[in-house]
């Protein structure tokens, strides 16, 4: 299968971060997805960026505020 003619590898790589961040417009999104479905190298790099973003979100997105802080804030807000 050939890669989509409307997006080559450099164009794809340039947009991969926006793709991972769900920031591409509909046209770029369609062209990039077509390219990824036909290009193993770019698809591998996409998986890499997506995995790294997920790793950061999971690693840094855990933990709760201390109970005493919550109590103080509830008093302030009441």
């Amino acid at each position: 299968m050939r890669a989509d003619k409307r997006m080559n590898c450099p164009d794809c790589r340039q947009r991969l971060e926006q793709f991972v961040d769900r920031e591409l417009d509909d046209d770029d999104l369609r062209h990039l997805e077509q390219h990824l479905s036909a290009c193993r190298d770019c698809a591998d790099e996409y998986q890499w960026h997506a995995s790294l973003k997920r790793l950061v979100r999971v690693s840094c997105g855990e933990g709760e505020a201390p109970a005493q802080l919550r109590e103080r804030l509830l008093q302030i807000l009441s």
């Binding site: 591998d44 973003k53 950061v56 840094c60 855990e62 933990g63 505020a65 201390p66 807000l77």
Partner: protein, 190 residues
């Protein structure tokens, strides 16, 4: 004079929604300050200021982004003495861990990521320059759109994108160095 019922309900709704973001604000404060006591102070100051300026919050808009913007500005004003506009981000250079791994190791790239402990990723994020750290925090951890992150940081969307790109490169460089030091991969840092 007694508070009107609708005002009282509005205040209660505001408080209820605001407190629902406590955990995420605290995690953000912890990443920014890297100190639990300072993080608590920063979050408490954020809520005090939010309460004081709650009239400026428009109901139905993004309260999480509004609270993060307050916290971000307090962080720069109180802990850093500036808003971060003139902080240098030079010296990070271009670094792509994916390409480095492809070139220098026999281990599949995804295996290297799987080998990294969450605590090491947190450490790498906390070692980023403040402006890099906050954009990673907003976009990667909290899932803000570029537009919302730009509003929180008070910069154009293009600046968010460029800072994010450089932040991710710096993060990859730090993780690569850790992977080498810990023997997960063998190779020369680029």
């Amino acid at each position: 004079m007694a508070e009107a019922p609708n005002e009282s309900k509005g205040a209660a709704d505001f408080a209820s929604e605001a407190i629902s973001y406590l955990d995420t604000l605290y995690r953000g404060a912890l990443r920014l300050t890297r100190d639990p006591a300072q993080a608590e102070d920063l979050v408490q100051d954020t809520y005090v200021r939010a309460l004081r300026y709650q009239h400026s919050y428009r109901i139905g808009t993004n309260m999480k982004a509004w609270l993060f913007a307050i916290m971000r500005n307090l962080f720069w004003d109180r802990f850093k003495g500036r808003r971060g506009e003139n902080v240098s981000l030079d010296g990070d250079g271009e670094f792509g861990l994916y390409d480095t791994l492809k070139d220098e190791t026999a281990k599949p790239e995804s295996e290297v990521l799987d080998s990294l402990a969450a605590s090491e990723v947190v450490r790498a994020v906390e070692q980023l320059a403040e402006l890099h750290r906050e954009v990673v925090l907003l976009v990667d951890v909290e899932g803000f759109s570029y537009k919302d992150a730009a509003e929180v940081m008070g910069v154009p969307i293009g600046t968010v994108m460029s800072r994010l790109h450089r932040a991710r490169q710096a993060l990859q460089k730090s993780l690569w160095e850790y992977a080498q030091e810990s023997g997960i991969v063998h190779g020369e840092s680029g």
